[in-house]
Amino acid sequence: MTILLLLVPVAVFLGFAGLAAFLWALRSGQFEDAERQGWRVLIDDDDPD
């Protein structure tokens, strides 16, 4: 059963890695307003260059 001493920390670490990845995605704004990006193509730019 000593294998648990290795496997459990590995599992917990992977869990934390997943959580960290999700939090990073959240913080970089990937879940904010998924709707607007699709509409944005229709809205005129104020200053077309």
């Binding site: 459990v8 599992a11 997943g18 999700f22 959240l26 307003d33 607007r36 509409w39 229709l42």
Partner: protein, 641 residues
């Protein structure tokens, strides 16, 4: 892009730059963080639990329990803090809401698991505590998503207030703050500006857009001595006005007050889930308490009695209420969006399902607000009229220009083109005076309101007849509503003849005309007191208070910002037809929510007796809860039509 589409005859609307604006949604962000922490912790603890369930013995089990505790306790403390806080607040005010059984169940499950772990017990509920938190947060997040930030219509209205004014004194004109004006002051208002005060007109003649009061797009001719209201827009020529009411006494301000009173007076609507929770929460508590007392008295084993009570609380936890209703609302909101309606308030869907009366505003809602040329003279006269119409922004002029464009006529050259307030446009064309304007001005023989006349030299004037165009989809919408047995009414600020004409075309019997904004509110309040659930569809400033008063309200895409802010649902397109499918969707969603409650109750009927007799292991409790949560969620997203 909108201009380009308009040039090929397609009416486009900007897709809600206001509603789509990226506001930093702090609450949603926090919910997502809590949800993700609960979710990842749940996955880990469940994996550890699988080892326990598959038969870990003594010291191994204890080790696994401690690891679970190390993950679960901080995660629960972090993720479920909003439930604890809300539950505590409810208890402090002496109420039982949905948060109380949730908080109690999570806290008890975590606390008892810790106790069991410390004393080397067999069963720990860490995974249950976490999955409860996860599912409930998911419901909370979906619920949050259906609620777009509601903006205040009263604030939009105050944006119409002119902040500065030009005051005329004996020796000079000075620019002052509108707030500093006093009754008796004379102010000059240039074309395109809104009146800062209520007052009496001193200029001989002018044109005024009073659509904020009447909803009517056609300008009105006003003469010296007429009373005018603040917020009306001056057209054609500048007006000089002697103020009679200023600042807080103006009609615009009192209208804004009426709108905000209607906003504040809107009773908080108890959704199906709220009403169910009122019965459910006490029932669950009594059941768990009874189970605890029974086992306590029967066996004297506190540990076992607590364990049974926790199992009951976990199994009965209102996942179906907290998750199923928001999941259905989210699915239905998505379906409505594809049909072309944007839900602005979360409970609008349930309100819509109860509607038995529909009240329409006329101009801008049933009709497009743009008159259409129906009878016209030959091409030469039309081309000449269109050339004259270039000098005017009157809706009739625009209609004439559009008609000329559609027939691709080339316009003749004119000189001395000028617009005369209250009358029309005149110019010189190949040596002759040509005039396009009102019936009175052109000495037309016929006395008929909604027409413009073209007079060349001293010839007999020729007539241009206009008609209001019905908005796309209005006919099938009204026919569909009547077929569904729904009462349809029109309430308009326009005159009776115009209102009756439209009502006849649509087959609507109940028409109220010449209504001021406060009259609309009064009529709607009367209907409400009769016990009717009214859907108000309107687009103008004069509808804002009425939209807030009605049980539920819809504004078309072309509506003014203020009306869109006041309404619960905004149509995304020009066509009104989606309203009818929206009502069907909302009723289907209502049925689906009730269906989900039944499923959840069914699960409870099977699992609660097992828990009560003390046979529920953590495995059974978690399975029952997760199965019911998953099946109601799947049922919720199974295409709502």
């Amino acid at each position: 892009m909108i201009a380009a589409l308009a040039s090929i005859g397609r009416n486009a609307q900007a897709p809600y730059s206001d509603l789509l604006a990226t506001e930093s949604d702090a609450a949603g962000h926090d919910l997502l963080v809590a949800l993700s922490v609960a979710g990842f912790a749940m996955m880990n603890v469940m994996l550890l639990s699988v080892s326990v369930w598959s038969g870990a013995e003594a010291s191994t089990r204890e080790f696994l329990h401690w690891v679970s505790a190390a993950i679960a306790l901080p995660a629960v403390a972090f993720s479920a803090r909003s439930f604890f806080r809300a539950g505590l607040r409810a208890l402090r005010s002496g109420q039982l809401n949905m948060d109380v059984p949730i908080a109690v169940a999570i806290a008890l499950a975590a606390g008892m698991s810790l106790y069991e772990t410390a004393y080397g017990g067999q069963h720990a509920y860490f995974d249950a505590a976490l999955s409860l938190t996860f599912f409930l947060l998911l419901g909370r997040y979906l619920d949050h998503r259906t609620r777009l930030a509601a903006r205040s219509a009263a604030k939009e209205l105050s944006a119409l207030e002119a902040s500065t004014a030009v005051r005329l004194t004996d020796d000079k004109d000075e620019i002052v703050d509108a707030e500093d004006l006093k009754p008796g002051d004379r102010v000059r208002v240039a074309p395109g500006m809104r009146l800062p005060v209520d007052g009496v007109v001193e200029t001989e003649i002018g044109d005024l857009d009073r659509s904020h009061l009447t909803g009517e797009a056609l300008p009105e001719t006003i003469r010296a001595g007429d009373l005018v209201e603040s917020g009306a827009m001056v057209l054609t020529a500048p007006l000089i006005i002697r103020a009679t009411a200023v600042g807080a006494d103006t009609s615009l301000r009192s209208m804004a007050e009426m709108v905000s009173a209607a906003e504040a007076g809107r009773a908080k609507y108890a959704t199906l889930a709220d009403r169910a929770a009122k019965i459910y929460a006490p029932a669950v508590h009594i059941l768990a308490l009874a189970a605890f007392l029974y086992w306590m008295l029967a066996t004297g084993d506190t540990r076992n009695a607590v364990s049974v009570a926790v199992a009951v609380l976990i199994i009965t936890c209102p996942c179906a209420l907290a998750l199923a209703a928001p999941a259905v609302a989210t699915a239905a909101a998505g379906a409505l969006f594809r049909q072309g309606l944007l839900l602005k308030r979360g409970d609008a869907l349930e309100r819509l399902a109860e509607v038995d009366t529909v009240v329409f505003d006329k101009t801008g809602t049933l009709t497009s607000g743009e008159p259409r040329l129906v009878a016209r003279p030959d091409d030469e006269a039309l081309a000449l009229a269109a050339a004259l119409a270039q000098a005017s922004a009157h809706p009739f002029s625009k209609a004439i220009r559009r008609a000329a464009e559609v027939n691709s006529l080339s316009l003749p050259k004119l000189s001395d083109l000028k617009e005369l307030p209250g009358s029309g446009v005149q110019a010189t064309w190949s040596g002759k005076l040509v005039r396009l304007g009102s019936t009175e001005w052109t000495d037309a023989s016929e006395r008929n309101g909604a027409a413009a006349w073209l007079q060349i030299g001293l010839d007999q004037p020729v007539k241009f007849d206009f008609e209001e165009t019905l908005r796309a989809g209005v006919l099938p919408l009204v026919a569909g509503l009547l077929a569904d047995g729904i009462d349809v009414k029109i309430m308009t600020g326009d005159a009776k003849t115009a209102a009756l004409k439209i009502a006849d075309q649509l087959g609507i019997a109940d028409v109220r005309s010449d209504l001021k904004p406060e009259d609309k509110v009064e009529h709607l309040t009367n209907l409400k007191n009769e016990g009717r659930r009214v859907l108000m569809i309107g687009d103008g400033l004069n509808d804002a208070a009425a939209l807030n008063t009605a049980h539920v309200s819809i504004a078309p895409a072309s509506a003014l910002d203020c009306a869109r802010a006041a309404s619960d649902i905004v149509l995304l397109g020009d066509d009104l037809r989606p309203v009818i499918s929206a009502m069907k969707t909302s009723r289907a969603a209502q049925r689906r929510i009730i269906e989900n409650f039944s499923i959840a109750i069914g699960y409870n009927l099977i699992a609660v007796p097992i828990a009560l007799v003390g046979a529920a292991t953590p495995l059974i409790a978690v399975l029952a809860m997760s199965l019911s949560s998953i099946s109601v969620s799947l049922n919720a997203i199974r295409g709502v039509r």
